[in-house]
């Protein structure tokens, strides 16, 4: 048997990553189909949980999930809910999640874990780094490029935060892909020449509905609507609250402030929820400090409890159909995505609304990551037929007089999309103009999401209203805004200083990456120093030994001093952190001890010769 090496240049592998609220996965494209890359524990899912241990190490995934009970104060989960958000946004979540927000969380939330603080992108970055390592171990080659999925309804700040997390993890994020769109790719629905597809994506923390048109391999998103705060977590919190109340009345003791007990009870209700997807009855069983609480939960009762959560997904579905200008009858296929679509009530509601039996062939936990791997393959140039045309989920606007919003790019516009607006000055000699950019559908600025303030600087002083600054707003293929400006008459490019309302500045992200790069370099440098010290040890040991010999005392005084000086100098740099300096001093010592070494050698030879004479 022989193998032929075609010498094909190896393309850098691009992985697809689903960075989920509850679980994260990494996938790659195989010869015929995408596949999920399991972790070392052979679990395809890496729970999106991170524990920051006191010694500086991190637990990620299943070990961290176990640590939720043992180290609740050092462990964080569902961090995706905090990505790209401000403290005021998450006040409600804080009542339900054991997030501890540190002081100084102005535009970026700082999570306190023990006595260290972390931003959500760093926590997500730690999860991504683990997925990257899993992929590298499995594939046996370095992984530096990735496609990461985001909820379709993520705003600019949430997308930017996800991209930042990738950079922090040492990944070049080639594309952010919307989760429902990725799912459509995974299903290979392009095999049907043309049609209309609805993707219903109910995950742990987010809900998206997308309507796509398929035409000869082109996936054109017509409309996407969603809720970034609606998912399985809401069901868990609902059940948890009821169980806590029930438990309090039975035990006469409120355990809701006891983190460990709450986490155990949370796990028990989640288990019951999972059971109810397959069986008509489940039991919530909770044992704590030798006391036992058990409740039967039937699917009927469960359905009644979660009905409001399921109902909240229906209005966005109707909105999406209206935006896409299609009726339920015109939808050819429905795809279910996200673990929460395993719930029978959810499936029934979807089937009733779209009057079509939904696709469930692919594992709803894995379909998004698989789709991300397909998109990665498209980016690598391997899939000529397929092309994704996605949209921006939210309208982009600028603040005008009286706190009103003037929309410049409407939601459901295919991206990349751009708009140009001309601005001028209001007072004579004004040299900068501040533009406030928001995202959302409402007419007042206060009801929309503030994205950033762009400061156009360095305008030549002129009478009011004379400068004409053309500002170009461009939403790229990742759904992220770029802004550029030029003075119209001079054609001079204006400086635009961005002050993001939520999220990290470029410099902050840069610092976080540098930190990890510095650490890597430090590790390498440290190893070099260690190796050089070993060499220094050998040399010094040899010199010290030589100094015990008669030959040493036969050397001229000046020569002995030179050797001693070189030895001292080496000892001085020995504990420093420069391997180069240590090497230099080793070389000097070598140099000045050469006569000594030669004399010793000669003496040894003489002794040996003498010896033979005896």
């Amino acid at each position: 048997m022989f193998e032929i090496d075609f010498g094909k240049p190896k393309n850098d592998i691009i992985v697809g990553i689903d960075l989920g609220t509850t679980n994260s996965l990494v996938a790659a494209m195989g010869p015929t189909a995408p596949f999920i890359i399991p972790g070392p524990d052979s679990d395809p899912l890496v729970p999106s949980v991170v524990t920051a241990l006191a010694n500086g190490d991190f637990l990620v995934g299943n070990p961290a999930r176990r640590a939720l009970v043992t180290h609740p104060k050092l462990t964080v989960y569902s961090v995706k809910r905090l990505m790209g958000r401000g403290v005021a946004d998450v006040r409600d979540e804080l009542k339900l999640f054991p997030f501890r927000i540190a002081e100084g969380s102005d535009s970026v939330i700082q999570l306190a874990l023990g006595n260290r603080t972390f931003t959500p992108p760093v926590i997500s970055g730690i999860i991504l780094r683990r997925l990257k390592q899993n992929a590298e171990e499995h594939l046996g080659e370095p992984v530096t490029k990735a496609v990461i999925t985001v909820p379709a309804y993520f705003n600019d700040a949430q997308r930017q935060a996800t991209k930042d997390a990738g950079r922090i993890a040492g990944l070049e994020v080639l594309r952010l892909v919307n989760e429902p769109t990725a799912a459509a790719l995974a299903y290979g629905l392009d095999k049907r020449k043309q049609g209309v597809v609805a993707v219903y994506d109910l995950g742990g923390g987010t809900f998206d509905i997308s309507i796509l048109r398929l035409q000869d391999g082109i996936f054109e998103v017509m409309a996407t609507v969603g809720d970034t705060h609606l998912g399985g977590d809401d069901i868990d919190n609902l059940l948890l609250r009821i169980a806590l109340e029930d438990l309090a009345s039975e035990w006469g003791e409120d355990v809701s402030t006891n983190q460990e007990a709450v986490q155990l009870l949370r796990r028990a209700v989640i288990e019951a929820k999972h059971t109810l997807s397959a069986l008509p009855v489940a039991h919530i069983v909770f044992e704590y400090k030798e006391r036992r609480y058990a409740r039967e939960l039937t699917r009927d009762v469960f359905n009644r409890l979660i009905m409001p959560v399921v109902d909240r997904t229906l209005a966005p579905c109707r909105q999406a159909m209206a935006d896409a200008k299609v009726t339920a009858a015109e939808i050819d296929e429905v795809v279910l995505v996200g673990g929460s679509t395993r719930i029978p009530l959810v499936r029934e509601a979807v089937e009733r609304l779209f009057r079509a039996k939904p696709h469930t062939e692919l594992n709803p936990d894995q379909v998004v990551a698989l789709g991300a791997a397909v998109q990665a393959s498209i980016l690598s140039g391997a899939e000529e037929e397929k092309l994704l045309l996605d949209v921006t989920p939210l309208s982009l606007g600028i603040e005008t007089m009286g706190g009103l919003v003037s929309k410049i790019i409407h939601r459901n516009s295919t991206i990349p999309a751009s708009a140009t607006e001309t601005f001028t000055t209001a007072v004579e000699g004004q040299t900068n103009v501040l533009i406030h950019v928001v995202q959302g559908e409402r007419e007042m600025v206060k009801d929309c999401r503030s994205l950033a303030r762009f400061d156009l600087k360095g305008i030549d002083p002129m009478p009011a209203g004379i400068p004409r600054i053309e500002v170009r707003f461009l939403i790229d293929a990742n759904g992220i805004l770029q802004v550029s400006a030029r003075e119209q008459r001079t054609g001079k490019e204006q400086t635009v200083e961005v002050k993001p309302s939520y999220g990290l500045t470029d410099e902050q992200v840069e610092a976080m990456i540098l930190e990890s790069i510095e650490k890597a370099e430090e590790d390498f440098a440290e190893r070099q120093v260690r190796e050089m010290r070993v060499e220094a040890d050998n040399v010094m040991h040899a010199v010290e030994k030589a100094k015990q010999s008669d030959t040493w005392y036969e050397l001229p005084q000046a020569e002995r001093e030179t050797v001693n000086r070189a030895l001292n100098e080496l000892m001085v740099v020995y504990h420093g952190d420069s391997h180069e300096l240590i090497r230099a001093k080793i070389e000097t010592l070598d140099e000045v001890t050469r006569p000594l070494a030669e004399s010793i050698m000669n003496a040894a030879v003489n002794t040996a010769l003498k010896g033979t004479k005896i």
């Binding site: 140039g381 516009s413 295919t414 990349p416 751009s418 790229d476 293929a477």
Partner: protein, 181 residues
């Protein structure tokens, strides 16, 4: 005109939407950034610009009103920016009638007005189609002016329809909102 150039089309107000869609897909296949992720930064930047242009152009040209507004502005004829400041003289009576109905929350009258305005809207659209054909046959300021007039009228009536619809869709509002001026 850049938006037409993007699809290799002659500037025409009347467009075949199926043909436009086909051209959009073809251009997207050629220029989408996904096709350039292994290329140089300069090529990527160019692809991004081209795709943004194609998308902006498609979004504008596929909608007859947006398309006509684009052609107007490219010819230095801005469509009216002040929404409905002056009531077209022939609509005065109907507008007053609707205003009064909105103030009194007279649902029957609002619905009658709504039907009337929707009929007028369809009428304007018919006129626009004819005016589009006129300009396509002989593009000039003379053939473009009527398009502008119709667009302004359309916008005015469109606002009336929107306000009337809002009042009809929200019947429980105790006091109807005054008509936007």
């Amino acid at each position: 005109m850049r938006y037409y150039d993007a699809f290799g089309l002659e500037p025409r107000l009347t467009l075949d939407s199926a043909d436009l869609q086909k051209r959009f897909y073809r251009q997207s296949r050629q220029w989408h950034p996904d096709r350039y992720s292994t290329k140089s930064p300069a090529e990527q930047a160019h692809a991004l610009e081209m795709t943004a242009l194609i998308n902006d152009a498609f979004r504008t040209l596929r909608d007859p009103v947006a398309r006509a507004e684009y052609v107007l502005s490219e010819n230095g004829l801005e469509a009216a920016t002040q929404r409905g400041k002056d009531v077209p003289a022939d609509l005065l009576e109907e507008v007053l009638e609707l205003n009064m109905a909105l103030e009194e929350a007279d649902r029957d009258q609002i619905e009658r007005s709504l039907k009337q305005f929707e009929r007028m809207l369809a009428e304007v659209d018919g006129q626009l189609a004819a005016q589009f054909a006129d300009w396509d046959a002989a593009p000039s300021a003379r053939t473009l002016q009527p398009v502008r007039a119709s667009l302004n009228r359309r916008k005015y009536i469109g606002n009336l329809v929107r306000d009337a619809k809002k009042a009809v869709d929200a019947p429980r509002t105790p006091s109807a909102q005054p008509l936007e001026s």
